[in-house]
Subunit: 323 residues, 2 copies
């Protein structure tokens, strides 16, 4: 760590709620030292959030912190990994203690929930951005990847889709903010819950997994490409959020929006026929909604249907806040 123009680390980041036994040396030296338990691989992911691109400059810093860490937690969820340690690169235009305090509150709340220890980082002056590198543990050989989908596997999605895009619409003023759901959806856009436990349950069951960060329509093709397969998806089966169903009466319009909604942090995964029973058992008491939306086929590319009939929707991917 170097170049701390602000004495922030000492005041806000040196003491924190999580102290893991596998962290031998935390914040305060040139580097942190960690011990990896035998029989585990380390999963590593990095996500950057830039003000004006991934969140508005005046967004609630507590929510921004949640969103930044949640993006990384969602990546580890998609690997079936257990979150463990993270490094925070925080770039701030000024030493605004109120902002930092609120940011820390949101950050530590989520970190504590998933037992993640902040082990280091760098605080620099500059345009507001947050980059987090999160590491987790996964039993060797059991990680979920994007490349294992086979012809005939069923395609599933956790939870419901659409609320993240709706929330963004409200944030950007594309929808009337005085509406019934505006406040809850704006809050919900920032405070999404990564599917960390669901990811761990999928180990040994799913043949491929990823998290929905750019929109299902953009993300699922990553599995197809990595696995060398194609897919048929029935858009009428997409789990459209109840609020989106209410606000968009046309079910096809709602489904399109759900397909394009990014930063949902739900998981999309494939399951071989033989593992469907195990999937039902694993999630029997999990209180997580799972929906089968289609099936892997040979060939390549994603074919969209609507109640069995082919549709030719031109859907754009997620492009955050800016053009």
């Amino acid at each position: 760590m170097s170049g701390n123009e602000f004495d922030i680390i000492g005041r806000y980041f040196a003491s924190q709620p999580v102290t893991r036994r596998d962290v031998d040396l935390g914040i305060g030296d040139d580097a942190a030292l960690i011990s990896v338990p035998e029989g585990n691989q380390v999963a590593v992911t990095t996500d950057t959030l830039v003000a004006g691109v991934h969140f508005l400059e005046d967004a609630n810093p507590e929510w921004v912190a949640h969103k930044a860490l949640a993006a990384n937690l969602s990546d580890l969820a998609a690997m079936g990994a257990m979150p463990a340690w993270c490094s925070l690169a925080l770039t701030l235009p000024e030493n605004d203690e109120g902002w930092i305090e609120a940011f820390c509150k949101g950050f530590y709340k989520l970190a504590e929930y998933f037992n993640v220890q902040l082990i280091g980082g760098d605080t620099t002056r500059g345009p507001l951005s947050i980059s987090i590198t999160l590491q987790g543990l996964v039993p060797t050989g059991q990680a979920l990847t994007r490349s294992g989908a086979k012809v005939g596997d069923w395609i599933y999605v956790t939870g419901e889709l659409g609320d993240s895009a709706l929330g963004l619409d409200f944030i950007l003023g594309n929808r009337d903010r005085t509406g019934l759901y505006a406040e809850a959806l704006i809050r919900g856009h920032y405070l999404r819950q990564p599917r960390v436990l669901a990811g761990q349950k999928l180990r040994g069951i799913a043949s491929s997994t990823l998290d929905i960060s750019d929109g299902l329509i953009s993300d699922l093709p990553h599995i197809l490409k990595a696995s060398g397969v194609g897919a048929n998806v029935d858009a009428a089966l997409i789990p459209v959020s109840s609020v989106l169903n209410e606000l968009e009466k046309d079910p096809q319009v709602a489904a399109k929006m759900a397909l394009c909604s990014g930063e949902e942090y739900e998981l999309c995964f494939t399951v071989p026929e033989i593992n469907r029973g195990a999937l039902d058992t694993a999630f029997a008491h999990a209180d997580i909604h799972l929906v089968c939306i289609g099936q892997i086929r040979s060939g390549s590319g994603l074919t969209l249907n609507w109640q069995g009939d082919a549709v030719d929707w031109q859907l754009a991917g997620w492009d955050h806040f800016s053009e």
Copy 2:
């Protein structure tokens, strides 16, 4: 990984010169997977470079890449760790392929030299900045830290100090750029060599170590504070660079500048009397200049002398490019 507005990763970052056997899954999934060899701890460090703060917006991107990775390598050097894997969070205002290509060239050149594999990251749109999280390996229990200095230990510095500050003066136009050494010093400011091998040699010999990133005058006190000791340093013993000695005829002016010169990426370390022989042996054929500049004492704080006489210099720390 998520939110890549540019398709950069595929084109420039997916193929790279280093492929380590301990990387089980590299770039291209939700997270990378690594295996840590038994008997090792993982050292983790993060450094962020922001345009206009740590480098000028129009700086050579090859040099900027070197500087960004070198800052992290230097942190691992100070731990006595062997660099291994890194994650790159790159934020770019626009998709400037020429810039990215040059950046990659500089990045991979240094990464290859130290056998570091890029395992992931995030490329986002926004004000130019680079944040790297670098991980390395160190035999369990052998890492060098800041907290082991004991009363009587000798204080050493590797290499020479001052060229980084001189280079910065030329970059900022505070010195005549047509001068004899301008070009070499500007280049040298960006292309400093982290003391990775020296750091590894110091394992089992040094009682404490750190890298000089904010200037010796700012950095050495971190060792003193972490170790609960004080130090006497004779500024006349500071290894002032030969160019600085030539440009600043007054040796005290030169020494002050060397003391404040940041981003030198030399190591400052302490060695117990009993290990001085081992130190000489370890570095006998290393072609690294080592100078003893003082001694650890009881109490606290750094006392500066000049050829044995106390001086009362008010020296400011390093504050990068901006005010």
